[in-house]
Assembly symmetry: D2
Homo-oligomer: 330 residues x 4
């Protein structure tokens, strides 16, 4: 059994804690969060110990690994502390909003041969995983174009926008990781445009609500991402991978397979799953299980801090491309 402490008892910490508790190879040793109102009921419900100090949780001798789901600005220090003590880490994205700090953290982890997995949950969703598997199996030949449509159900609150790092670092970054992963080659140029079609006041934060990106790899493979902070029909997550001998298309996941026919419309499906927590429930579980498997089998981490740095680097390039109107070399 692998002893795991979950750091952070907020929205994402709750999910990780429940998934650790449900994993037969892991033992949820503790949940740590300075906010007692969050951590105490969660720990009680899952039958584990509540702690207020994340550093202390890392240091416990019965803790083999930690899951970091705390606010972004604490990630690097928690992560490096765990690595220094030889503990494995599953860390939420992003490593940090600052590129240089992220780079340094990644370099330090690599220097210490740290066992750190970055939580790119989408890669573990059954459909995403099946697409990657189908590509690897040669079912569509060499990848030529990846098209990602990714839209949130509604604008985040202004308090969030202020500290989010902007649409490219906060939202597009997930799609940039998936684009890298599905292209099978590193992008070498990034072109992006941003618009304020929903909230013009985003100008004060140099931010956008609607964006498009093009990536190109050295061999010429191309990826396109379109994002919008608000889609009235719900959280929209679709992907198309076009290759030399075929194409894979991923539709949205829905709560049921029911279709409705009325005098107004035929063959209509119900609204989409609300947001990422509902859409990627299975993915979060599979991600945690993959982390535990990598530890128990002593195999490579399926995603690394380096992946996080690379996705952030692409987001930085997108920001620069919007600013300069140029294709930015990665």
């Amino acid at each position: 059994m692998i002893g795991i402490a979950v750091l952070g008892a907020g929205r994402i910490g709750k999910i990780h804690a429940a998934n650790v508790a449900a994993n037969p190879k892991a033992k949820l040793v503790a949940i740590a969060d300075p906010f007692a109102d969050a951590v105490n009921p969660l720990a009680e419900r899952l039958g584990t110990e509540a702690m207020s100090d994340c550093m202390a949780a890392i240091e416990r001798p019965d803790v083999d690994a930690v899951v970091i789901g705390t606010p972004t600005d604490t990630h690097v220090s928690l992560l490096l502390h765990a690595v220094k003590l030889g503990k494995a880490v599953l860390c939420e994205k992003p490593i940090d909003l600052d590129m240089a700090k992220s780079e340094e953290a990644a370099a330090e982890v690599e220097r210490q041969n740290g066992r750190v997995m970055l939580a790119f949950n989408r890669r573990f969703d059954s459909t995403f995983a099946e697409m990657r598997k189908a590509i690897d199996a040669g079912r569509i030949g060499d990848v030529r174009q990846v098209i990602i449509s990714s839209r949130d159900p509604g604008m985040p609150p202004e308090s969030y926008v202020k500290t989010s790092g902007g649409i490219f670092r906060d939202m597009t970054i997930h799609d940039l990781d998936i684009a890298r992963w599905l292209l099978g080659e590193e992008p070498v140029t990034v072109t992006a445009v941003g618009s304020r079609l929903i909230d013009p006041s985003l100008r004060q934060y140099d931010d956008y609500d609607t964006a498009m990106v093009i990536l190109q790899t050295a061999s010429g493979r191309q990826a396109h991402i379109n994002n919008c902070r608000e889609a009235v029909y719900g959280y929209d997550q679709r992907i198309e991978v076009f290759g030399a001998t075929g194409m894979l298309v991923q539709d949205n996941l829905r709560p049921t397979t029911m279709r409705v026919w009325t005098a107004e419309a035929t063959d209509a499906r119900e609204p989409l799953l609300n947001f990422f927590l509902e859409r990627y429930t299975q993915a979060y579980r599979a991600e945690l299980d993959a982390f535990v498997d990598a530890l128990s089998d002593d195999t490579e981490m399926p995603t690394t801090v380096r992946d996080g740095v690379k996705a952030l680097r692409l987001a930085e390039c997108a920001v620069e491309s919007v600013r300069t109107g140029r294709a930015v070399t990665v």
Copy 2:
């Protein structure tokens, strides 16, 4: 060039006349209908001669073939007159509502080696034809079950209901023909139920608005048909053919491929095509072309009066099954 006269300038006559005019191997010699107000403008628009007497049209020396689109009770006399004169015939369904009279007509046509095609238009629809072709090509192995969903957009007027022969002879008959054709074997038993869920007053005509049928062939192949006189979402025409190594499914044809996503529903398609004239436009054209091809190539008629008799016989069995609560042997 094959000289063709169209008999009947009503709804279906108009379609046949236009299709004859558009066929490069045929010449539309005349349109005949006792109602001058119907036939004159139609003939003028298509640049052909208007006649009031259908028998006279058949007898014209420049007429090689006739298309019969007149009221049902005139079909047999026109048909047999044409056959006697050695003219080919494309005749609308049904031959006659009376089983004995239909049998006699078919026997007479066969005695005289008459060249008569019965207008089972659906068989010529591109999707129906593709399904039959896929079965013939062995793509789904031996057929096991055929399921036909066939619903009209709305109740016909009472005046029509009175003389229609009832839902089984008027509406189900089309599906019975398709079931025979897709099963690839003759049904030997017919079981049916009928309900009055829309209009209880149909009881006075011994008629129903909602029906289900099961057919079984000698080897045990099965077909199910469900009908309703009213579907609020439009004219519904779907088929499933399940076989030993696969299944073919036919969806409704629609005017566009557009899908609509809103806050209320996602992936919704537009309403269906209004009714059979719109749904089977291409099929009527292909049917006429097949008739002309059979004449110009001197090949077998793709559908015969005997097919009409057999479909009517199945409809008769369905009526009897509803009345007796028994599986009726054909």
Copy 3:
């Protein structure tokens, strides 16, 4: 906490036991099965006690409720023993293959006001439940026709066929329950046909591999069921409910939303989920949770032994209809 013992450690017992263990309001007190090789590893894995005697498990004072997943011929005695002791029961279908014995068991449970839920798992599947909810909300008006396509992936072994009670009692029965439930009215007549298209040797067991059924209610609502023991493309579960103001259609559930385009075919989906255990994983979980909720909230059982008797009665009628070629009155 409700103390629950699971009786039976076979395929279905394993699922129930895991679902009890995962339910936060229940405690898995014991698993009982005479086969030590089945029950011991399962009990160990789930951290509970293994027992060899089902009756003894029922009698434990810490057992408030039992889940019966043993062979069919043991259901009635276990069920009645539990009811006599005032224990609640979730019992697998069927109650018994014998109609009279099932009736007696149901009457006895009702006499004793027993708390017994019959395990009609499909009703708890999210899509099935959403369909029933949509009907109740009036989204399609009064139900007119229900069409159920339900096919197994492959023939069961002969050993199973011998004791299964035949396709109508073993396979169609699930669809008969769903038809009753979706029609919203009791069927009053049953018509059925059976064929041996896969295995002619089924004749020795008076059994069939391919079947079609029509049900009709007193007001005239109609349901059709088509079944086949073998579908090369997998476990096929589709439903259509056609009503006065709309229609609901349920497609198969699949492991991913991926579609594949190649030179041979476009927009193709992957094979279906293997069989009922995979297709209805979520339904089994929701069924167990509904049982526990009914106990903890002291509300009515969502399905009852009476439902089981009614479904079995419809299956008996279908058998008789095939034999006599008549519509059988329920």
Copy 4:
């Protein structure tokens, strides 16, 4: 009746000639083409006069309008000759591959108030037209993003590539026109990337086989286009228009609605329609009819030479963007 001469008896001229012949308000007066082998059988089949001299055809007193389907380098001279004589024109795209010459032609047409329609056939396809209508009806609110996937079934022959003007002027130009039309605002910046993933030898023509484009309008609306010269699954034409209150999605048109289920794949559709002549058959017909209607009703031309110039200008910007790696201002 409007007298029309069709200039050019090649692939596209044949289609236009048949559509003129089928239009009840038009008379096909002549078909002109210097290649007797092409023009003579076509004229004979359609019952009209064959001519060898396009200029002479324009000058005929019984010609009110001409349809230009000749090689691109003859478009401008034929077009301007017709306009000078007061004849209406339906001209195939592009006006000319040279931007300056196209601009001059457009200016000349406008100076003379010429009645010239440029043949942007896709706008007349029933699904494209329904999308524009749905946007105009406010069904999805203000447009935010347009995504166009447009791929050809296979590489054109080298002889064609040499003179085509390159992928952006030859292929992307159709999508650029549709993007302008669906955005409802003029793009102000163009960003593009090009790759040689199929045929590296395209480098000698400064051409590409795979391309992506982003357009942005003054208010910030965005469009993305992805193109490839070769899609193994056929001619791929899909569009998504995402707006403030909904989204419209256009799937490919197919010859039938049949879906195939086998042990390998389920719900598969047949291959796509072969190429643009098959995919846009109905659109070519509707385009010609719209031209004739505009003439007979004396209304505005639905598309103009100016539209052609604007699409070509966007293609030029795309070429420049690929070359410079910059967003190019239109």
